[in-house]
Amino acid sequence: MRNVLKYFIFSLLLSWMAFAPIQSCAQDTEEPKEEKFDAKSFIFGHTGDSYCYHITEMKGEPICVWLPVIVKCKDGGSWHCFSSKHVCELKEGETFEHKGAHFYVSPISADKYPGKLVEVKADGGLSRPFDISFTKNAFGIFLVCIFLLAFFLPAARKYKKDPMAKPTKYQGLVEWLTYTVLDGIIKPNVPEKKVKKFAPYLLTVFFFIFFANLFGLIPFFPFGANVTGNLSITVVLALLTYFFVNVFGNKHYWKDIFWPDVPIFLKAFPLMPIIELISTITKPFALMVRLFANILAGHIVIMVLMALIFIIGGMYGAGMGGVMSIVSIFMTIFMTALELLVAYIQAYVFTILSSLFIGMAQHEPEHE
């Protein structure tokens, strides 16, 4: 009985999903000027960064969380800090004036600085100011960070208070998560004596990436920011791994870079040292691109499947759009399930490779 009810509700929802675009399309055609669906803006608008957190639209009015814009104009310009409401609601061709400077956000379809805040100079030229706005992704980062602290610190406090007490269910969860990473990823790669030293970084990286990936899949406020699918975030993570590998690398690691065990002519003319040095950079570079590309690709595929509804609807009419929406919904469910897997796999891969590189830089040669 419950199952029948469940299927009934599910099919109702599906049919609603199928007809919703038709209705919206029908409304669109009634309007005098026909707006063409811009797939590129749609996809990159959702996967990229933005100055405001767009939640939904009600009666044509957008409902957003307006995040602060913080910029410093080029060439000795001043600092500007204002709500993104002023620049996001501008009509085309308008600019926002703040303390004598004019700003606008260039559209995603623009060739120059797409989706970014641009200053319009007095002579009409465009310049990109130094921009440390608290954007949607910055918000996403802080959300993940706060979640990490809120999730792990209470457990740590409980452990500190009474380490031998019977752990609660929540502590069990924290323990299980921590030790899956510690025993499954870190301990097999990092030498046993160094585990205590590097585990904090690797654990933080793992859970940061993992929860950022998961939050990115939740499609409503305050989640849904494409944090790990943004190169700015992965570049920081990769740099930190680079830092941990090379700064704490031991003598043997550096000797292997500058004076490896190869014939003398390969290292006297410094061919091998150069290759080895480059390889220290390519390793974190690969980490950076892998994480970024995987997560971004997943988000883009989901957005493309959504965009397909409107593209097909625009090309062949509302009916086809409705049919397409059923297909898209199923494909999106499949993709989201896959992304759930990818969320874990990418966090796992990033952490296991980081611990492998760190472990290799800590490796002591066996005495012959």
Partner: protein, 167 residues
Amino acid sequence: MDLFLPESGLVIWMLIAFLIVFAILAKVGWPMIMGAVEQRNTHISDSLMAADKANKALAGIEQKRQETMAAAQAEQIKIMKESQELKTQLIEEAKAQARQEAEKIVADARFKIEKEQAEALAQIKNEVIALSVDIAEKLLQRELSDKQAQSDYIEQLLKNNQTRIEA
């Protein structure tokens, strides 16, 4: 393409936020969790080892107890056997003694009887002698004239003596 260029502002935010979280978790997060779990691990393994040891000791004690029990039982059986033996021995001895005593009593009695018999016989002999002498005396005192009378007289004498003896 713009997508593939890191954004300086976001890099700064990320660096600040991540480093703060990392610092906090590295200071008061992970070491506490790991430390507590390690501590519990060692505690559990120690406890298990202690329990194992105690179990082994207990098994030793149990074995000793059983051994003691068995020894006590054997001792008991042995004592019972000995007492049984002692009992039969005592009975045998008592029997033998009793028999001896009885034999002695019987012999004594027999000896007494024989002695009394002999005494009686001797008395009878003396009586007979005295009687004979008596008769002979009386015979001698009377004149033996009549034969018939003599015989009757003897007869009478004998009769008298007999009554005397019987008396």
